[in-house]
């Protein structure tokens, strides 16, 4: 059964960016807004962010948005667009104050202001040393942001469609965005949402790797849907591996541990970051630290020769750990039986964050092509988008900042847009495509389970398109992913029912993951340099002459992936060698 709903604005995804966008839309009287989310919004992965959100409030020491901007540009390895970065760092202060006014329970300084602590890559005086810039609420800042935003959505009476999986984007015949098709997981019914504007805030796709900090739900649905609808994906080769994930599980251990003074040690007990980053040491940017850890492990200095090193916080004392890092202490005790007050934590890098995604301008309008042609009514914000504030490597805390700043900007611009725009016509048979997909997935009687294909994909991506990359290895990965895409045609869905069919959902999600693994690998093979998180052992240096540009990958009608480029916006900071 197909249901139809009409709204002015739709927000797809109930994480930080989506809820922030919805709050701004809900402040516009008369505007009909709905949030459509595959999970109850409070289950979104924003809630797993721990360490903080940066803004140059200067509550504890001198700080300026332009220092923050410089750090972000440098962190991005000069691939970030400096106009977007400037907007983000300047608006950071206002947005954080606004979140506080919305009720966010930040930790406090002695004089009652928002507490701040150092974080990787954030410096004073353009790289002179660490600065206390990360505003935090213990080690559950993301949880507090998510809860506060959800609370304010309830306060403002936002309409929610919870556990509705958006499965397709609708474009009207004249090329405007006109809605989405969503699948009500509970009933199995399809719903057509007809609207003037749609905002994709669907998050990332860490599940294409085997060791990841990402939730099971982070399957890149929005990115994959956009790709299928002919929208290019930008900078997909840049994927961040967080230096400190719990060994084997990948669960995030916040950079805040190092912000509070924790250090990394190898099998010899050596504080090895002193060798890799003499100034910032353990607080160098994430790509640098993750590579250092991987190098130590590869050169046999992992603990007992295994694939992990220690994150040592034992010298911080029980007080700091229990009060400022209570959740990570709980994770270590629950999953490792390790008490971080007394023992070091075994960690390894974990797939964490997509710098790339759906290209947008600074108002979060989705743009295509090298000349940034706007698709009217289609927006994206947060991890799903590539506005590009993170360039080739994101600094810690800038993800939460990205969510709230660009969530807000998208809401404001959509509200402006909806005031004047009319409702574009729906295409004929809007559900045709997804009905065909589901019918095919359900018709298979003999085949392999989605989980098997997924595991093979995750393993090959982990081995060859991880922290260290080289051409031949990535070719192996690409061949494997394409083989898996072939085998995926006969993936077996055992559950043939309509109600809460998560078997079908997982199979559909796997299709997204495979597409994104393919695009990531193609982009990574294509970029023959090393920059930020994209580290090629066969091209070890950054090549600004040939590669100071964004990659755009588009799926052609025939199914091939076409690569084009667009220039990087450079305003204030010219590319320099990057040393921490």
């Amino acid at each position: 059964m197909i249901h139809t709903h009409t709204y002015d604005a739709l927000v797809v995804g109930g994480g930080g960016a989506g809820l922030m966008s919805a709050i701004y839309l809900s402040r516009e009287p008369g505007l009909r807004t709905a949030v459509i989310s595959k999970l109850y919004p409070t289950r979104s992965h924003t809630g797993a962010a721990q360490g903080g959100v940066c803004a140059a409030l200067g509550n504890l020491e001198e700080d300026h948005p332009e220092w923050h901007m410089f750090d972000t540009v440098k962190g991005s390895d000069y691939l970030g667009d400096q106009d977007s970065i400037e907007v983000m760092c300047n608006e950071a202060v206002d947005v954080i104050i606004e979140l506080e006014h919305m009720g966010l329970p930040f930790s406090r300084t002695e004089d009652g202001k928002i507490a701040q602590r150092p974080f990787g890559g954030h410096t004073h005086h353009f790289g002179q040393g660490p600065v206390r810039r990360s505003c935090y609420a213990a080690d559950r800042t993301g949880h507090m942001i998510l809860q506060t935003l959800y609370q304010n959505c309830i306060k403002n009476g936002v309409d929610f469609y919870d556990e509705f999986q958006v499965v397709d984007l609708l474009l009207s015949p004249d090329g405007r965005c006109c809605g989405v098709v969503a699948w009500h997981i509970d009933t199995g019914d399809l719903h057509v949402f007809h609207a003037k504007a749609v905002n994709f805030t669907t998050g990332g796709f860490g599940r294409i790797w085997s060791i990841t900090s990402n939730a099971h739900a982070n399957t890149g649905d929005g990115v994959a849907i956009a790709l299928r609808r002919g929208i290019p994906l930008e900078d997909m080769e840049f994927y961040q591996f967080h230096p400190t994930g719990i060994y084997k599980l990948g669960i995030l251990i916040t950079e805040g541990v190092r912000g509070e003074g924790g250090v990394l040690r190898n099998d010899h007990g050596e504080r090895f970051m002193e060798r890799y980053a003499p100034t910032m040491k353990d607080l160098a940017s994430r790509d640098v630290v993750a590579r250092a850890i991987s190098r130590e492990i590869r050169e046999g200095r992992g603990i007992n020769g295994k694939k992990y090193v220690y994150l040592d916080a034992t010298h911080l004392g029980a007080d700091v750990i229990e009060n400022k890092l209570p959740d990570i202490a709980d994770f270590c005790r629950t999953y490792l039986g390790v008490d971080p007050v007394r023992e070091p934590m075994p960690i390894q890098p974990t797939a964490h964050y997509a710098m790339g995604g759906i290209p947008t301008d600074i108002d979060c309008r989705v743009v295509t092509g090298p000349d940034n042609t706007v698709i009217p009514g289609f927006y994206a914000a947060g991890e799903v988008a590539c506005v590009s504030v993170h360039g080739a490597n994101r600094l810690g805390t800038n993800s939460l900042l990205d969510l709230v700043v660009f969530g807000r900007r998208s809401g404001l611009d959509m509200a402006r847009f909806c005031k004047t725009a009319d409702l574009p016509p729906l295409p004929e048979n809007p559900t045709e495509r997804i009905e065909a997909t589901f019918a095919r997935l359900l018709a298979t009687e003999k085949g392999e389970p989605a989980a098997k294909l997924r595991e093979e994909m995750q393993d090959v991506m982990q081995d060859h398109v991880g922290i260290f990359r080289e051409g031949p290895g990535m070719e192996i990965a690409l061949a494997k992913v394409r083989e898996l895409q072939e085998r995926y045609r006969s993936v077996l869905v055992l559950d043939k029912g309509k109600r809460f069919n998560t078997d079908l959902l997982e199979a559909w999600e796997l299709g997204n993951l495979l597409d994104l693994a393919e695009v990531t690998t193609v982009s990574a093979i294509n970029r023959t340099e090393s920059r930020g998180a994209h580290m090629r052992e066969d091209y070890e240096t950054r090549d600004d002459v040939n590669w100071l540009k964004h990659t755009l990958v588009t799926r052609s009608d025939e199914g091939a992936l076409d690569i084009t480029y667009k220039p990087v916006t450079i305003t204030r900071f010219q590319p320099k060698e990057r040393v921490y």
């Binding site: 999970l39 109850y40 409070t42 289950r43 979104s44 992965h45 809630g47 797993a48 104050i97 506080e100 006014h101 919305m102 009720g103 329970p105 930040f106 930790s107 406090r108 002695e110 004089d111 009652g112 202001k113 928002i114 609420a137 213990a138 559950r140 949880h143 507090m144 809860q147 506060t148 609370q151 304010n152 309830i154 306060k155 509970d186 939730a215 099971h216 739900a217 599980l249 669960i251 959740d327 709980d330 994770f331 629950t334 999953y335 389970p449 989605a450 989980a451 098997k452 077996l492 869905v493 055992l494 559950d495 029912g497 309509k498 109600r499 809460f500 069919n501 998560t502 078997d503």
Partner: protein, 235 residues
């Protein structure tokens, strides 16, 4: 790696008239989570097994269920702690949609009923509202709630009467009642000063025992009761 038996209470609304137990044997590591064991069953034995999950490390609140008779998050219990025979059932007190999936709407309706958001209609300052470390500490415990419903569905008062607002909603009211920046404690206390509000709590402590975030829920409810009695939230 060893083989364990999972006894799972299954219900498929499209084929079953009532729920029934089914056994699955699955190989697990002692350090695997119960969620990992369930996933192995779903992925490689029976794709129709249905449960919610997302973050898999106890922060999203999706996978609360009854494990060996007590409410737990499946991702926060390790196999070595539950023995070789594990019974898994859905949360009690909500309508079962399918297997472990229960209807959460009544739960969120109760949550929404206690004004779970900051209310301060005075003009905000240019910068942040100031709050002392001590004032921030007063409601710290209840900010940890992830709305997993483990507490509410472990409460005998709630089992007996689903109109009871439930411990989770009270926890989320507490989070604002004791926030020095909020101005609507009185309105929330009025809401909770009701037969189906805090007074339905019989101080049984099941909620505190069930909370995966270790929130001292019964204590928080006690603080709300006292605030109603004294007509004040002063410490």
């Amino acid at each position: 790696m060893k083989t364990v038996t999972l006894t799972i209470l299954r219900f498929n609304p499209e084929t079953d008239r009532e729920a029934a137990y089914r056994e699955y044997r699955v190989d697990v590591e002692p350090t695997d989570r119960v969620l990992d064991a369930l996933s192995k069953v779903k992925w490689y034995q029976d794709g129709t097994l249905t449960f919610r999950r997302s973050c898999a490390h106890g922060v999203c609140g999706s996978d609360a269920m009854r494990i060996n008779g007590v409410n737990r998050l499946a991702c926060k219990v390790l196999m070595r702690d539950v023995g070789d025979r594990v019974t898994i059932e859905p949360l009690m007190g909500f309508r079962v949609i399918k297997d472990m999936v229960v209807d959460m709407e009544p739960f969120f309706a109760q949550y929404r009923s206690v004004l779970p958001f900051m209310i301060n209609d005075s003009r905000p300052p240019q910068r942040e509202r100031l709050q002392s470390i001590a004032d921030r500490e007063r409601f710290d415990d209840t900010t940890k709630c992830i709305l997993c419903a483990a507490c509410t569905t472990s409460c005998p008062s709630f089992w007996a009467n689903e109109e009871f607002v439930g411990p989770a909603a009270i926890v989320n009211a507490h989070r604002f009642i004791f926030d020095s920046r909020d101005e609507a404690a009185g309105a929330r206390l009025d809401i909770l000063n009701d037969r189906e509000g805090v007074w339905r709590c019989r101080t049984i402590f099941n909620c505190t025992e069930a909370c995966p975030r270790e929130i001292r829920i019964t204590k928080a409810i006690g603080e709300v009761k006292k605030a109603i009695l004294y007509g004040s939230t002063a410490p």
